[in-house]
């Protein structure tokens, strides 16, 4: 929970410079974390990935909090990290980026949570979050949601589910239709 009571450390141009430095160091941190995920010496299992993910999210939130910006939530950290992992895994099969143990990573990676995917998952019997996704402050809340998805879509890689559900929701919005008996029964390709 980002509850630091730090005052804003600087004002004016100094604050701008600090914010820029913080942004850059944040990017560098996520790049290092992504390297850990994509250049692993050993294959991933669900337990090792979940542990890595928790550590990475907390580290990212703490990074901003420790520098006087207690406004970065687990919800935001997961979106940044999960999208970065998803992009790496999107590029790997096309030989545009090298990813070690990509198959195992693809099996255990998390769904990036945002309003679009929450809306798409709602009619599939997935319980909604109790707050806005970007305001998830407790990693357990995030973790429980991913666990719920794994149970709901048992036997499927969550990134494959996300790809399918995302396209269904996108198509639904383009057509302006309402949710109609959504199902993932058709084989994922």
């Amino acid at each position: 929970m980002p509850t630091s009571t730090w005052p804003a450390p600087f004002t004016g141009s100094m604050a701008t410079a600090v914010a820029k430095t913080l942004r850059l160091s944040g990017h560098a941190l996520v790049e290092r974390q992504l390297a850990e995920a994509t250049q692993s010496a050993i294959a991933w299992c669900q337990g090792s990935f979940d542990a890595w993910h928790r550590r990475a999210c907390v580290e990212l939130v703490d990074h901003f909090c420790e520098h006087g910006y207690p406004i970065f939530y687990i919800g935001q950290a997961q979106k940044w990290l999960n999208m970065a992992v998803k992009y790496a895994l999107m590029l790997q099969p096309l030989s545009m980026l090298s990813v070690s143990h990509a198959d195992s990573l693809r099996q255990v990676a998390h769904i990036p949570i945002d309003n679009f995917i929450l809306e798409a998952l709602k009619p599939m019997g997935v319980s909604p979050l109790s707050c806005a996704w970007s305001r998830i402050a407790d990693y357990e809340q995030y973790s429980d949601y991913q666990t719920q998805l794994r149970v709901r879509f048992s036997g499927l890689a969550l990134l494959d589910v996300e790809f399918r559900v995302w396209n269904m929701e996108s198509s639904r919005r383009r057509n302006g239709s309402t949710h109609q008996s959504p199902t993932l029964d058709a084989p994922l390709t």
């Binding site: 990017h27 996520v30 790049e31 992504l34 390297a35 994509t38 406004i71 935001q76 979106k79 940044w80 990290l81 999960n82 999208m83 970065a84 998803k86 992009y87 790496a88 999107m90 590029l91 096309l94 545009m96 980026l97 990036p112 945002d114 309003n115 679009f116 806005a132 970007s134 305001r135």
Partner: protein, 56 residues
Amino acid sequence: MSSNQQYPAPTVEEHTRFMLSFLFGGEMYPTLKDCVRRANLDLARTVHGINGDGSR
């Protein structure tokens, strides 16, 4: 090069690579840094807490 120059049709994979490169500023071989930057753009586009006038 003349406008009626004939090019071989790209393969499905070449086409997919080409389309994906647009997500990374035209980079055909994006790095991890490019993935992080692109993911941050997605976060920035959907994040809550900032009003249209820039106030929180």
